[in-house]
Structure formats: C-alpha cells, structure tokens
C-alpha cells in the first residue's frame, strides 16, 4: 500500500497568491494513497527540505510529491532530499504549481481546482513509480581520431596531453591535411607549414599517440565508452620499420607522369612516392594503380635500388580491431573543381584554376617555388581575376550555402600576388564580403587600401579564351550595373567547399547523421555543436561545415575536452530513463514478437536483435534488446510497439495512463 507524502510550497507568495495552498494541502491529504500532506513557505529552503526528510521517516512514506516550481528548476534538489530521507530519488515527482498555474492564472476557484487536479495527477504517477538506479557503464580510456588534418591533430594532441591514449587514423599516406597545402594563412600571413609541421612531428613522437596513416576505418560498433572499431591498414608495399625515407626509390621510379595530389594536379609525382617533403611519416608508399610492377609485373626498380630492402610487393591490406572509448571525427572537406563550371569553360582552360591550386602556386614548396606563374605557359600573369562565390550560394548548382572561407582566402590570394608582383593587377568579383572574424575585416581593408586590390561587386557570367587571354565578362553592380570586361592572364575560382566524396559512407559507418550536403550533423545547432547524436562521437573541423583554421582548431579542442571529461571517470553513470523490453516466464520469455519496428525507428541505434536460446544454444525466439548505454530515453519505440512489449522507465504506459485518468478525476 502506497504511502505518499505531498508537500505544497508557497514559494513566498508566488504560488499562494493565486492558489489556495491550505485547501490544496487539505484536498491532497484526502487523496487515496496519500499518508501525509502539508504546505510551507519555502520548500526548497534548508528547513523546507528538512521537513521533507523528517516526514519521510516519520510517516514511512514510500513516495513524495512536491507541489512547487517547474521540475526543470528544483527536481534535482527535491530528489536529493528524498534520497536523504531514505527513498529512491525516482520516487519523488514535482507538481508544477508555479510556472503552469499560479503565474499564468488569476486567484480563482478554477485556478485552485487546476492545482488540485495536477497534484492528484502527480500523486497517481508516483504510485506507479518504481525505484530506478543510475546505469553504470565502464569507459575504455582510448580515443580514436579519424583524420589527420589540423582538426584531428589538435584533438589528438589535446587528448594525449591529458594523459589518455589516442589512436589516429589517416587515409592518405601522410597527416597534415589541406592545411599542409596552404601557402600563407589569413589574417596574419604566417606560413602555413611553419606552424603546422611542428604539430605533425609532435603527433608522430607523442608517447600517447599511435598513428596509422594510409589506413581507413572499416566499421564501428558498440556504444559510448565501449566502441569496437575495425581499421583497415592499406597495403603500403613499403616496410615502415625498415625504410629510412632516403628517397632512392622515388628518384629512380620510371613512371613519373602521375598528377600530384599534393600540388593539386599542377605537377607530377612518381608511382612510389612520399606526398611532400615534410610528410609524416616521411616514408614512401606505392600507388599500385599507377605502378608498372603491379600493372604489368615489369620494372621492380625501386626494390632493386632500396638500400635497406624495405620494398615488399606482396604486402596485403591488414585489419586491426580496437577497443575505443570515444571518437573524434575530423575527416575534413573537399572543394569543387573548375570542371564544375560550364560558363567558365568546363575546366578546359589551363589558366582557370581553383583556390587550392593558387595556394600551391604561391607556396614556397610548390611546383613554381612560390613564383606565381600561369600553368599554361609558365608566364607571370599581369592581370589576375579572382571570382568569389564560385559555386557557393548558387541554388542552380545545388549549393545554397556560403562556404565561409572564400572571402578571406581570396583577399589573401590577391595580397600574396600583389606582394610578389607590385605592378600586377588583381581584380576580385564578389557579391558580399564576409569577414567577421578577429582582425578579418581589417585584413580585407588592407587588401583594398594598401595593396590596391580592385574589388568589383558583381558576378561573372562567362569566361572564354582569345589569343592566350581569358576574357572575363562581368558587371559592376555598384556602377549602375555597367558591364565589365577584363582580359585576364589567369583566373582563380574560389570554388565551393563541399563534403568529402566518401562522407556519406563514413557517416553511415559511424551511425551519425548528416545533412543533404553530406556535412555531419551536430547534436544541437547551438548547445551541442561538437557532439553528434550518437553518444561518444564528436565532430571537429570542416567535416561538420565549412571552417577556417581557427574555427576548426577551436572545435577540435572542444571535442577533445568533451572526451577528456568522459574519460575522467572509470565508470560513467547515466539517467535510468531508458527503454526496457518486458520479461516473462518461459516459454514466452517476453511478449515481444521480434517485429523489430522499434529498431527501425530508434534514432540512436540503441535497439538490437536478440536471439533467446536454450542451454543447447537453439534459438527459441527472436526479440528486441535495448542497449541501455546508447538509449537516450525518447520513447519513440514505446509509441511504435504494437503490443506494448517495450516501455520507458520513468514514463511507462501505466504511469502516463494513470496520470491522464487522475487529471480527469477518474479512478484508476
């Protein structure tokens, strides 16, 4: 027999001013199952709480209802009090008398009656309450960082420096990401590699970081604190443990005409190669698709010249299984290429290039050693036209969003060019200038005022080639929309930032959601910007949305701190508001028929298929099984369950029904 205690708070006058609290307490005491009811000026105050604790003991209460402010305010407070009093905290419920009643209705019979209804409702709920205990989940204190760009590097170092193990997986032969391709960085114009490469080395040498380059995540299963991750180590054909990175192999390699990814296709590399001089690890890999040995079983030169015999043509892909506590997804971004633009020549004009290619031209380590020369004939361009918003904010091209970084790097590009060729002319066609970062707008103004970059507000309609010049047909919308035609030597398209081609498949492996452009979705646009809706998986960098370096790094550190927090305990506890499948005696075991509709609708992949077996291991029944570690307690499964076999602790069908009955004043 339930013995419920009801405690009505006046909240000073906030409640008592419009609700007849004395009568409310009295009515409450008459409610079936209520053993004790009282009202008091400040229930949340120390004496107030003491009254609750004493009452619980004195009247041997099995559950309590506090009629006070919103549960969002003091539920935790009163549940602690209940615990002190010796009852399970989940047997304490709040009747919201203030926000939902006294503050929104005048003093009246109706108001007090509403209060009585609500208290009765909650009393009935408490009667249905069962003690719940926080769920304890062990935590594997090893983090996985997917992607070795600046975001991944930052996250890895932060976690590792906090003393936790980190495993970094990078799909290309070296870490460094796009940042390693950049020349200088805005708004300070400091050399990208100068600030990046030390970090890369730090990663390689950090005692807490295990680095797997040329590797990809195969599958992710399990849940927060307890992920099982399978990683594919792609066959490198070079034994890293022996290789000294002397470079004899790639100097001798005969197939030299392979477009160089690192130089954005502006130069060539060999089939056995190390992506760039500061690569980490700076050891080669064989690009089997372009290697004569693997295509025609001929050559084998690299093997012959390798002084330490590190080349091994027979290596196969290997798989490793990892136990992981939390994951940082930092898989980065891609950009649209010039062939995406029919009106600008379908990528067929050699001297129409994209932003990354310009970075390589401007970079001291680039194919022209930092001299800005046009790809077609190596001449130094006298006129460069830069087109901002190339593909971005272009519904017709399927990209409505702003790529965020273009305004800034275009200003930077124009500056770099002007610094190297003072006599040259730089024109930037733009729609709006978005420079809302620290010292960003000052930077753009510098480009205009000090470096005399010509900004023209308008989009370019078409580019065509004539006698070695690129005719750029634009408009100046600030000049009565007069047509502007520029004979340029080179055109740089600030092409749209897009998700990686494999973003979708990565997201599906991780069970994280993504938007229609395949950028990964954060758990909450404002309050959970680095978490995903899968507990334990964080986002860092441009895989979530277009970002510049400062933003990517901040998000990476944020993701790291989330994980460090997660790793701060051996066992993590979670609110027991989770779904459960009912259990009954054999041979039924459960009323669940195994339709697994719940599995379909669960946003957290928290429901698995369970085979109920006998001792001999014969499958007796298929049923759903809730993984309490993953379940977030939304209850969608409960509503979908066709025969009420799954229920949500704290919001059971029984509880909800009895609540409804009670407030309609019907016995239940």
């Amino acid at each position: 027999m339930a013995r419920i205690g009801v405690f009505i708070c006046h909240c000073g006058e906030n409640i008592s001013a419009t609700v007849d609290v004395a009568r409310l307490a009295e009515e409450a005491s008459k409610m079936p199952g209520v053993a004790y009811a009282m009202d008091y000026k400040y229930m949340c105050s120390d004496p107030g709480q003491t009254k609750i604790i004493e009452a619980i003991k004195e009247y041997k209460l099995t559950g309590i209802v506090v009629g006070a402010c919103s549960p969002r305010m003091h539920e935790a407070t009163f549940r602690k009090a209940a615990e002190k009093g010796g009852i399970n905290p989940f047997l304490c419920e709040i009747a919201n008398l203030r926000e939902h009643i006294s503050w929104v209705h005048p003093r009246s019979e109706a108001t007090t009656k509403k209060a009585i209804d609500i208290v009765r409702t909650i009393v009935n709920k408490v009667k249905q309450d069962t003690p719940l205990y926080p769920i304890k989940v062990p935590v594997t204190k090893t983090a996985l960082v997917i992607g070795g760009g600046i975001a991944g590097i930052q996250a890895a170092l932060d976690i590792a420096n906090a003393g936790h193990q980190v495993i970094m997986v990078e799909k290309s032969p070296s870490i460094g990401g796009h940042m390693s391709q950049l020349s200088e960085t805005f708004p300070t114009l400091d050399c990208s590699q100068c600030i990046l490469t030390p970090r890369m080395v730090e990663v390689a040498q950090h005692p807490n970081i295990t680095l797997h380059t040329f590797a990809e995540v195969e599958s992710v299963s399990g849940f927060v604190g307890n992920f099982d991750v399978k990683v594919r180590l792609k066959a490198r054909s070079v034994d890293l443990s022996i290789c000294t990175g002397c470079g004899a192999c790639w100097q001798k390699c005969p197939s030299k005409k392979i477009p160089d990814e690192f130089n954005a296709g502006l130069s060539f590399r060999t089939a056995i190669y190390s992506p760039f001089p500061q690569a980490v690890p700076n050891k080669p890999v064989i690009d089997r698709a372009n290697c004569t040995w693997f295509q025609k079983q001929k050559c084998g030169l690299c093997k012959k010249v390798c002084p330490v015999g590190a080349i091994d043509y027979d290596t196969k892909d290997e798989f490793i299984d990892l136990k992981i506590g939390a994951i940082v997804t930092a898989t980065g971004f891609d950009i649209k290429h010039t062939d995406f633009f029919p009106e600008y020549g379908y990528g067929e004009f050699k001297d129409v290039i994209d932003g990354l290619q310009f970075e390589r031209l401007a970079s001291a380590s680039g194919p022209t050693n930092g001299e800005i020369r046009r790809p077609s004939d190596g001449q130094i361009p006298e006129k460069i036209v830069f087109l901002a918003c190339s593909g971005s904010r272009d519904k017709a091209k399927g990209i409505e969003y702003c790529s965020k970084i273009c305004c800034m790097y275009t200003a930077k590009h124009a500056m770099l060019y002007k610094h190297k060729h003072h006599e040259g002319n730089a024109y930037i066609f733009y729609m709006d200038i978005r420079s809302s970062g620290k010292n960003y707008d000052e930077f753009v103004r510098r480009a205009v005022e000090e470096d005399d970059v010509h900004y023209i507000r308008g989009r370019v309609s078409r580019i065509y080639e004539k006698n070695g010049k690129l005719i750029v047909k634009g408009v100046d919308t600030l000049m009565n929309s007069e047509p502007v035609e520029i004979e340029a030597d080179m055109v740089v398209l600030a092409t749209a930032v897009v998700a990686n081609p494999d973003a979708e498949s990565v997201a599906q492996k991780m069970h994280i959601s993504y938007d229609k452009h395949h950028f990964f979705a954060e758990a909450h646009p404002k309050l959970k910007p680095v978490e995903t809706n899968t507990a334990g998986i964080m986002l860092a960098g441009a895989c979530q949305s277009a970002k510049d370096i400062p933003d990517a790094v901040s998000q990476a550190s944020a993701a790291a701190s989330k994980i460090i927090g997660l790793f701060s305990t051996d066992v993590m506890t979670r609110e027991p508001v989770v779904a459960v499948i009912n259990r009954t005696m054999p041979p039924l075991f459960t009323t669940c028929t195994g339709c697994l509709l719940c599995m379909e609708v669960c946003p957290y992949h928290a429901i698995e298929r369970e085979e109920i077996k006998d001792r001999a291991g014969n499958v007796l029944k298929i049923a759903a099984k809730v993984n309490a570690g993953l379940c977030q307690g939304c209850g969608t499964c409960v509503a979908f369950c066709r025969n009420k076999s799954i229920d949500l602790q704290g919001y059971t069908n029984q509880q909800m029904l009895s609540e409804v009955m009670a407030l309609l004043n019907k016995p239940f």
């Binding site: 969002r72 926000e99 809706n533 939304c634 969608t636």
Partner: protein, 153 residues
C-alpha cells in the same frame, strides 16, 4: 454554452513545449485555466490511443505539442509523431470522429506567448463545440460495413 468549461488535456514534450509553458509562466502570460499538461520526454513517445482514453474519460479537447521540425531533442521523435498523427487522424476521420477536437502544434522553449495563444484558441474552439459526447455516437457497425466495402473493392 458560456458556462461550459471544457477539460483540455495537453500532451507535451519535455524539451520544447513544456519549457515553453514554463516561459509563459516566468513572463506571467495569462491564459485559460482549462488546460492540464501531461509531460512526455518527446512527442514521439505519445501513444495516440492515450488520446482516445482521455476522450473516453471526459476530456473535451486535446493539444499535442512538441518541438518544431529539426529541433527535436531526440532528432526525429517529432517527425515520427507527426507521421503517426497523419495516419491516426485519417483513421479517426474515417470512423467519423471530430478531429477538430485534437490540435497538433509545435511550440518551442522560446515561445511562451505562442503557448498561451494556443491554449486560449483551443479553449474557445472547444467551448463553441460544447462537451464531448460523441464517443458512443461513433457507429462502429457502419464503420465495419464501409471497411468491408473498402476491402472488397
């Protein structure tokens, strides 16, 4: 009809509409006292048979309200609710139930005012409709026939 004080039950989600109602309180926005709030973690949790139970036991009108699309704390609960509601409503229409007595809405944690307005509107609407007594009026024989027709077609 003016004396008639309808009983309106509101099934709301914990993260958006419940908080929205709290905001209405903290900003002291007055509204009709006829509404009784039942708190769910998410509209996705709401079993629409519970609505029927409520009507069966004397509710005159019902509000179901949760987060706006894409705002759901559990990412997709509100979508599931909406889809199920669409199916459920057509079923109710089919058996001749007056679906105007159920109002499906979205009220975010920031929309205290909207919550108040919603409650007032629904209260007035139900007031004009009068008490709910149709449940026994629903002709289940008729329903069966028309159903048989439908499937034999």
């Amino acid at each position: 009809m003016s004396e008639f004080e309808p009983k309106i039950v509101a099934f709301v989600c914990n993260w958006c509409t419940y908080a929205g109602a709290d905001l209405a309180g903290t900003s002291r926005t007055q509204y009709a006292p006829n509404v009784r709030i039942v708190r769910f973690p998410c509209t996705g949790r709401i079993d629409f048979m519970l609505l029927m139970k409520a009507f069966e036991n004397g509710a005159d009108g019902i509000i179901v309200s949760g987060c706006h699309p894409n705002d759901c704390h559990y990412t997709s609960g509100n979508f599931h609710a909406r889809r199920r509601w669409i199916v459920f409503r057509s079923l109710l229409d089919f058996i001749g139930f007056d679906t105007d007595r159920i109002t499906f809405s979205w009220v975010s944690a920031a929309e205290g005012k909207k919550w108040a307005t919603l409650v007032n509107e629904v209260t007035e609407q139900i007031q004009s409709k009068g008490p709910f007594t149709d449940l026994d009026k629903l002709d289940f024989v008729q329903l069966k026939e028309s159903y048989d027709e439908a499937i034999t077609k």
